[in-house]
Amino acid sequence: MAGLGGRMSTVVKAKVSKLLDRAEDPAETLDYSYQKQVEQLQNVKKGIADVVTAKKRLQMQETSLQQSVVKLDTQARQALSSGQEDLARTALERKNVAQTELQGLDTQVAELEEQQQKLTDSEQKLRAKIEAFRTKKEVIKAQYSAAEAQVRISEAATGVGEQMADVGLAMQRAVDKTENMKARADAVSELEAAGTFNDITALGSGEDDIDRQLKQLSSKSAVDDELEKMKGEVGAPAGAGQLPAQGESSEPAPPAGGQS
């Protein structure tokens, strides 16, 4: 028999029969099995808590990225108002990256939400099975001879064991998803730590690594479009001249030629 199904049920059955082999007293086996099941249930709860933690982490990143988007937008406007188009472009490029990351995070949070729900459902099912086992073990203890009890125990333990394996599989899938997301979230954190989404005005004119990476990452045309749009809204220096304090309001800043 090939396949996951075969393997899984074989493993469960093997574990159960090993347990039974060891046991001399069925009553003892039953109590021991039950105790193990309750322990497993605790593990499942921990697994759910891990998924919730991962989700919260992503949600915090979302909030922080949203703030960055607002800030970068403001900075781009300020830069444009004072005629620093290059700076405005850099700010918009960063905003673009932050927005793309935000979209990715949305999807991931929704996915984790789904995993959490599945695990919670599985946990409830497992809890019900364990409860059934608890009832059944008392019946078995009271009503069956040792030899007969073995058979009944095997049946009951396999039933619970399978449910346990099922929750284990769901948990593994949730963990895999969470790990992938964590790697990605870490990458975003690194960008943040590197100041990518932070204070644009702190930047000199020189390009650093991040700048170059950003240019590759961001969609250039989207940035260009937004820049043009913003120029209209802000009323770039050529027009209304919102910052006439410089004195040279007669000479509009040349539209910086840097198209790289």
Binding site: K118, E155, G159, E162
Partner: protein, 92 residues
């Protein structure tokens, strides 16, 4: 016979459904072995739907082992490549 769909329920199916189940399962194996990814979701979906619609859900307070355990419904084609090969999931 009892079939479990991972992440869902255990279903009790009439014994005479076993041959239809085998057919559906062989179809999935053929799709996977033929590398026909586009057909995977519908063929695996058909197998699961057959179990869901013909089986009686085993209540939570009944404790029994399954004869067949099917992978979860969100199984990907790549994962299926590792699970559905040769004889398949259902032993003859």
């Amino acid at each position: 016979m009892i079939a479990r769909i991972s992440g869902e329920e255990q279903y009790e199916l009439p014994d005479e459904d076993a041959s239809r189940l085998n057919e559906l399962e062989s179809a999935v194996v053929a799709v996977v072995e033929g590398g026909r990814e586009a057909e995977f979701d519908s063929s695996y979906g058909a197998l699961l739907d057959f179990v869901r619609s013909n089986g009686r859900v085993v209540p939570d307070d009944e404790l029994q082992g399954s004869d067949v355990i099917l992978p979860p419904a969100d199984l990907t084609f790549q994962e299926a490549g590792r699970e559905f090969t040769g004889e398949g999931l259902i032993p003859d």
